[in-house]
């Protein structure tokens, strides 16, 4: 079953087409990886889907319900969670409080919301850090915090922006395991990732973008061999 379907989504900023007629579908329970070089329009695509940026035109359907043009809080209320590339933790609050704010969406009782938040924090393996302020956590831990916080709203679809970006090499395997573990819970995931190895390892499908355009879509093995993708990453000699 299609959980998300995006059709001809476009957005330009002052003449530059950040997203140009992007279309793709996501099947429920799968992981879609989005790759592309710097400035390919990956994060813009996330912002368009979740309503943070208004699209110029296009169509976004979530469970066959049109969510195009809704405000971000309404979209998240329907069950779309997200994390941010430029991390946005609630810096002056503890990890636990951060996740509790997410948990309050489904759970009104404070005690039960706390317990639920703790379970999720345990899931991302940060229980010992629960009383640390978000600003005291390392980047890798803050990434987990954002994942946990987004999970706490019990999303059906989770958009994750560069989970492994900017973190120490040593912590990457742990984050990858976490994504895999998350998939097993039945959540559909779209993840932006620049580390190709990880994308190949976890995704069911890969969407490759370059300069705002969709250049390839398909299973990872195919994408890795796709000439356009290789050119986008390694460049071409044409110019030289």
């Amino acid at each position: 079953m299609k959980i998300l379907s995006v059709e001809n989504l476009s957005r330009s900023f002052g003449g530059i087409k950040a997203n140009d007629n992007i279309s793709f579908d996501v099947e429920q329970g799968t992981i879609l990886g989005i790759i592309g070089p710097n400035g390919a329009g990956k994060s813009t695509l996330f912002d368009l889907i979740t309503g943070y940026t208004k699209a110029d035109n296009g169509k976004v359907q979530f469970f066959e319900k049109n969510i195009f043009g809704l405000s971000p809080d309404k979209i998240s209320n329907l069950g779309v969670g997200r994390t941010f590339q430029k991390l946005k933790p609630f810096a002056d609050q503890t990890l636990l409080e951060n996740v509790m704010i997410g948990a309050f969406v489904k759970e009104k009782n404070i005690k039960r919301a706390r317990d639920k938040a703790l379970e999720i924090i345990d899931f991302v393996d940060l229980v010992e850090k629960r009383h640390h302020f978000a600003k005291e956590l390392s980047t890798g831990q803050r990434k987990r915090l954002e994942m946990a916080r987004a999970m706490a709203i019990e999303p059906k679809l989770l958009l994750m922006d560069e989970v492994t970006g900017g973190v120490d090499q040593k912590t990457i395997p742990g984050l990858v395991e976490l994504i895999k573990k998350l998939k097993k819970t039945g959540v559909t995931i779209i993840t932006i990732e620049h580390n190709i190895n990880i994308i190949m390892e976890i995704s069911d499908n890969v969407l490759a973008l370059d300069q705002g355009q969709r250049i390839a879509f398909g299973p990872p093995k195919e994408i890795q061999k796709n000439k356009q993708v290789i050119d986008a990453y390694l460049g071409t000699f044409d110019a030289a």
Binding site: I16, P37, N38, G39, S138, T139, E162, G165, G166, D168, Q169, I172, H194, N195, I196, N197, I199, M200, Q211, Q224, I230, Y233, L234, G235, T236, F237, D238, A239, A240
Partner: protein, 235 residues
């Protein structure tokens, strides 16, 4: 040796982004810094111009330790930094942008010669000299940013992602310009994602992965190196 970086670490707050990196650039040499997104290439350039402080290690320029010299005094030494995404002053004209490039006294004395030279290299900038920078296309802005960097009479020109978002035509122009600059005895250190393009023009390359130097060497040796390909495309 013009620039010599020895074993630097860089931390943002408590979080380390650069681990024990050493890089050097000779006079009149073109060197490429390569690596996937977020591998720390820009951070290294920012460290060289002291927009970001480094811990441990040393940065020497012309055999002089410059680790503690503030950013704004580094152009005078001969280090020009063209920041990522161009960063021209959008509400100033092309000419005003160029003027500001020649800020330290030595550059100011020579501003007219420099302008002439720049206009020869970038003829488009002369015809558009009274236009606001924001009205120019991406490629023209990139040219302007590089030209502005040249106005400071650098010995080392650092360019962050010069080819990002440029059309193949403009890229070709820019490559020629880079070669001309190096022929004049100025060294170029540039950050690039396009490995093949970068290595086709640079003398040497350094490849970074997650803040660590993985491999470096002459361009010929790197260009179809399997290890490099793996870093970018995976196993």
């Amino acid at each position: 040796m013009l620039l010599d970086i020895k074993n630097i670490d860089v931390l943002y707050d408590d979080f380390q982004v650069i681990w024990d990196v050493s890089i050097n650039v000779e006079k009149a040499e073109m060197v490429a810094l390569l690596g996937p997104n977020g591998s720390g290439k820009s951070t290294i350039l920012n460290t060289i111009s002291n927009l970001v402080e480094h811990r441990n290690g040393k940065i020497n320029f012309e055999n002089k330790l410059i680790s503690n010299i503030p950013t704004f005094k580094r152009t005078e030494l001969g280090i020009s930094h063209v920041l990522e995404r161009r960063r021209v002053f959008p509400h100033l004209t092309v000419k005003q942008n160029l003027q500001l490039g020649a800020w330290h006294p030595k550059a100011k004395d020579q501003i007219n010669q420099s302008l002439k030279k720049i206009y020869k290299i970038f003829p488009k900038l002369e015809t558009r000299s009274d236009q606001l920078a924001k009205t120019m296309s991406g490629g023209e802005q990139q040219m302007l940013a590089i030209a502005r960097g040249m106005m400071g009479l650098p010995k080392l020109l650092m360019v962050d992602e010069p080819f990002l978002g440029l059309s193949p035509m403009v890229m070709k122009d820019l490559i020629k310009i880079f070669k001309n600059i190096v022929q004049e005895g100025i060294s170029i250190l540039f950050v690039e994602q396009n490995v093949r393009l970068a290595l086709s023009m640079a003398d040497r390359g350094y490849v970074l992965e997650s803040g660590r130097l993985v491999i470096d060497g002459k361009s010929e040796d790197l260009i179809d190196n399997e290890k490099v390909t793996k870093i970018f495309l995976g196993n």
